[in-house]
């Protein structure tokens, strides 16, 4: 199954974030609890962690890019060899947890 990771509404009032750092690349397998990406707001860093196991397939935005809350960041799948949809959209959201520091 294909999942989409979107920018979480982690900090009240924030409409847009900047991507600080990805912690993997296409092909990287994440276990539940692994750090996927760090996002930057005006005053905090949001650590987005996997809430389920999955394989990162496609990055839809790079470090340094600006993205509005709710827009897609990446696609994941259960298995590394699953076919990706075209256009690259998934109906299911990847389950995530996030810490704001």
């Amino acid at each position: 199954m294909i999942y989409q990771l979107s920018v979480p509404a982690a900090v009240p009032g924030v409409e847009e974030i900047r991507i600080l750092e990805w912690q993997g690349e296409p092909g990287t397998a994440f276990a539940s609890g692994d750090l996927i990406v760090e996002l930057e707001t005006h005053k905090a860093v949001v650590e987005v962690r996997a809430g389920q196991a999955g394989v990162l397939r496609t990055l839809l935005a790079d470090a340094g890019d600006w993205l509005a809350v709710g827009l897609p960041l990446a696609l994941f799948s259960d298995d590394a060899d699953e076919a990706l949809p075209d256009p690259a959209l998934a109906s299911d959201e990847l389950v995530v947890e996030f810490d704001v520091t």
Binding site: V11, G13, V14, E16, R18, T41, H42, K43, W66
Partner: protein, 338 residues
């Protein structure tokens, strides 16, 4: 000049301006609470302590009167201090040094001395209650010798701070807490924004909506709301409250024929009445009304805070009323008559 832009957070626009001006002028230094290794209450000085060290990024105790007094004295002796008062409400403690000394110094010495200091502060309501939410810029506008500016975007924050740090007299530069989360595009090339210039953020034919700071966003939202009803609203961003750009304001109201002023401060002796009086002195009276925070202290209770502070619905209702369109039912409105 290149029109290339780069996107950044509000705080980054401020820190860029301060970094550039500190690099160009060794007499500029910063003082205030947490401006040193902490990087500023809003991280607006991130990285500057490393660049300029403790002599030019000076942490002060919670003693606003002392900080303001030191800044005024340093300015009179040839430095260009940027004194940071985290909340505008606490400028009151330092008014004596700012108003009685810094703002009057040029007059008292027949121009032999000036006090080129910048007070950087933050206005506006965001859940912090009666003594951390106020917008008292109208008080400051009435002080001869004081310049007052308030950006609504990172580009203006950058440009106004640069001009402030080059100005020869005391400047109060006012950020708004609710503006910080929103990034914006800033010119890559150095781009000071001149004082005394207002900017038309949205063109319109029926009403001129004049405002500043965070309320520019509320105004644009309200203008959008009434557009579908056939009301064309021009939004003018003051940017500079003292001096006021009466030419741009008058030209706008002369074109549209109506004026609505909007501010987050109180309407009594507020920015709006001054704007209206100055425009009407020039072009004659026009239909107008004003919106501000309701006459009560802004509570930390979020329901009461939202009830007090102007929102787009209230502004849209005033625009309809002013444009001669029928009122629709809306929330808690006590629209003041012109």
């Amino acid at each position: 000049m290149s029109s290339e832009q780069t996107r950044m957070f509000f705080r980054e626009a401020v820190s860029r301006a301060v970094r550039e001006e500190m690099t160009d002028n060794p007499r500029v230094f910063v003082l205030g609470q947490d401006v040193g290794s902490f990087g500023g209450s809003y991280r607006e000085f991130d990285g500057l302590y490393k660049l300029f060290g403790p002599e030019r990024m000076r942490d002060t105790p919670v003693a606003e009167a002392a900080a303001m007094g030191i800044a005024a004295g340093a300015a009179a002796s040839g430095f260009h201090p940027l004194v940071v008062i985290t909340y505008m409400d606490f400028m009151m403690i330092g008014f004596d040094a700012l108003i009685n000394y810094a703002a009057k110094l040029r007059y008292k010495t027949a121009g032999r001395l000036t006090a080129p200091m910048v007070v950087k502060t933050t206005a506006g309501a965001q859940g912090q209650g009666v003594a951390h939410s106020q917008c008292i810029e109208a008080w400051l506008m009435s002080v001869p010798g004081l310049k007052v500016v308030a950006p609504s975007s990172p580009a203006d924050a950058y440009g106004l701070m640069k001009t402030a740090l080059r100005s020869d007299g005391p400047v109060v530069y006012i950020d708004h807490k609710r503006l910080f989360p929103t990034p914006g595009n800033v010119p890559v090339a150095e781009a000071p924004v001149p004082f005394g210039q207002a900017f038309i953020r949205r063109e319109g034919r029926d009403v001129s909506l004049v405002t500043h700071s965070y309320m520019v966003r509320v105004a644009l939202e309200a203008a959008q709301m009434v557009e579908a009803e056939g009301i064309s609203c021009e939004v003018v961003d003051l940017c500079s409250l003292a001096p006021l750009d009466i030419a741009t304001l008058s030209a706008s109201v002369a074109r549209t024929g109506r004026l609505l002023t909007l501010e987050e401060g109180q309407t009594t002796c507020g920015v709006g009445v001054e704007v209206a009086a100055r425009i009407f002195e020039r072009i004659g009276p026009k239909p107008w009304s004003r919106i501000g925070t309701l006459p009560a202290p802004v509570s930390s209770n979020p329901v009461l805070e939202a009830a007090c502070v102007p929102n787009a619905g209230r502004v849209a209702e005033a625009l309809r009323s002013l444009a001669g369109h029928p009122l629709t039912t809306s929330s808690f409105v006590t629209q003041e008559a012109s």
